[in-house]
């Protein structure tokens, strides 16, 4: 599939999507609300994206961006799905019922960035202790004891 075909296909699923082809792979920016149906379609539809190899979040100081790297073990074409979420109350729907690996990756994003994943079966802290305050990977996180400014 060429990038044009993918774009066409995704536009039919999520009309509001915007595209960015400057990087190595096709980047697709969608609305957080449109993410879940799109993902479900990408997994089961004609793209058959069965391999979610990276889920992460980036703090752009004005907003958070969820980044999903998708690929397929059959045709090996990778695409990147992004969704901007609000920094104060970041909420997005989980994809861990589509790809099981997302369960742990989303738990990590939850504790490091504070993104709330709705319908996640077990959204607890995975790495940090339960009473940890703050979201360490956000840019404004301050820890005067453990972070040494050089």
């Amino acid at each position: 599939m060429t990038n044009e075909e993918i774009k066409e296909y995704i536009s039919s699923l999520a009309p509001a999507a915007t595209y960015d082809e400057t990087g190595e792979w096709l980047n697709i920016l969608v609305e957080p609300t449109a993410l879940k149906p799109l993902m479900a379609n990408l997994r089961t539809g004609k793209m058959q994206m069965n391999y979610l190899f990276c889920v992460t979040c980036v703090d752009f100081k004005t907003h958070l961006t969820m980044v999903y790297h998708l690929s397929a073990t059959t045709h090996r074409q990778s695409i990147v799905i992004k969704a901007n979420v609000n920094r104060d109350t970041p909420v997005i729907e989980t994809v861990c019922d589509i790809w099981r690996t997302a369960e742990f990756l989303e738990r990590e994003v939850f504790e490091m960035f504070g993104v709330q994943f709705t319908n996640h079966p077990d959204l607890r802290k995975l790495i940090l202790e339960d009473d940890f305050k703050g979201f360490p990977l956000r840019k404004d996180f301050e820890d005067p004891i453990n972070m040494i400014k050089l």
């Binding site: 190595e24 990276c54 992460t56 790297h69 790809w99 690996t101 369960e103 995975l126 050089l150």
Partner: protein
Amino acid sequence: MYNQTEIIKDTSELGADGELVINMGPQHPATHGVLHLVVTLNGETIKKIEPHLGFIHRSIEKMCESLTYRQFIYVTSRMDYLSSHINNLGCALLVEKGMQIEVPERAKYIRVILSELTRIASHELWLGAMAMDLGAFTPFFYAFREREMITDIMEDTCGARLTMNYIVPGGLMYDLHPDFQKKVKAFITQFKSKVTEYEDLVTNNIIFQSRTKGVGILSAEDAISYGCTGPVARASGVSCDIRKIYPYEVYDKVEFDEVIETAGDSFARYIVRVKEMNQSIRIIEQLIDNIPEGDFVGKTKNVLKLPKGEFYSRVETARGEFGVYVVSEGGTTPHRIKFRSPGFSNLSVLNHIAAGGMIGDLMASMGTLDLVIPDIDR
């Protein structure tokens, strides 16, 4: 003299249906580090395993945000310390890709040879540690004898035995040690003569086979869905070798087979790793005599600045696909860096494959997942 009912209450904290919750780890002989598993048992049968991570979490991703593109490579040695060289390579590839740095051919060959040596060393350690999990202590020492030869080679060439940091963006830190080729050849001869020992002691052993065959079965669909990579996924019949799919460095010039088993049980994972060692030997044999002359490091600018944008590079470590995702704002340090560690995804499958088995099966499943805890926690 004692009140029996009181002791029952204190001893076992029996849950509903007589469940027994035990904490395996953070200090437990089988978790090889500081992994904490909360295991719910019903008699000897495991009902649920819940990993608790973070005992060696150093927030390497946050640290890297304040390190330059030259400096952040050395931190990655501390993640998967058993394949530190390959981790370094992944990061260097990302910087080279982002800045279009030309790497000399000689450096590429050396990088691949050292990667494969690292892979063998990692698998050797895994083999010993896994046999130890299953109660056989002796293979550990035999495996370490061969591994010691590799660490000696690493020490000669890279100056360190575990956290090499031999790779810099654009090439290598310094040239090969003059004895390198001789020593690698000596290692290959030694390894080939000793590999039958593992077969006698471990592979063909009836107890080992009955402990691992049919234990911890992972289907191909689940392997993909859980994001498993490396030998874990290949044992389930999923082709996922980055060296074959997206060849980097000189992997497209060498002949080797991607080892794939279909059973998906612990024994298949074991066999995949043992066969992979032989494939690594095959790669080294093809390259060791053909290292081209030339520079070992390409021309790079003094200050490395990645252009604005996003970059992703991946390599095949001993445990699977290691990915580096960098968001750059154009400065000397990354804006956000994310390491896709193979161990993290491989760990998430543990509950799926070990629940329903016995405590002894948990050791076989966990051992063959080859978990390195600093890699998982990062």
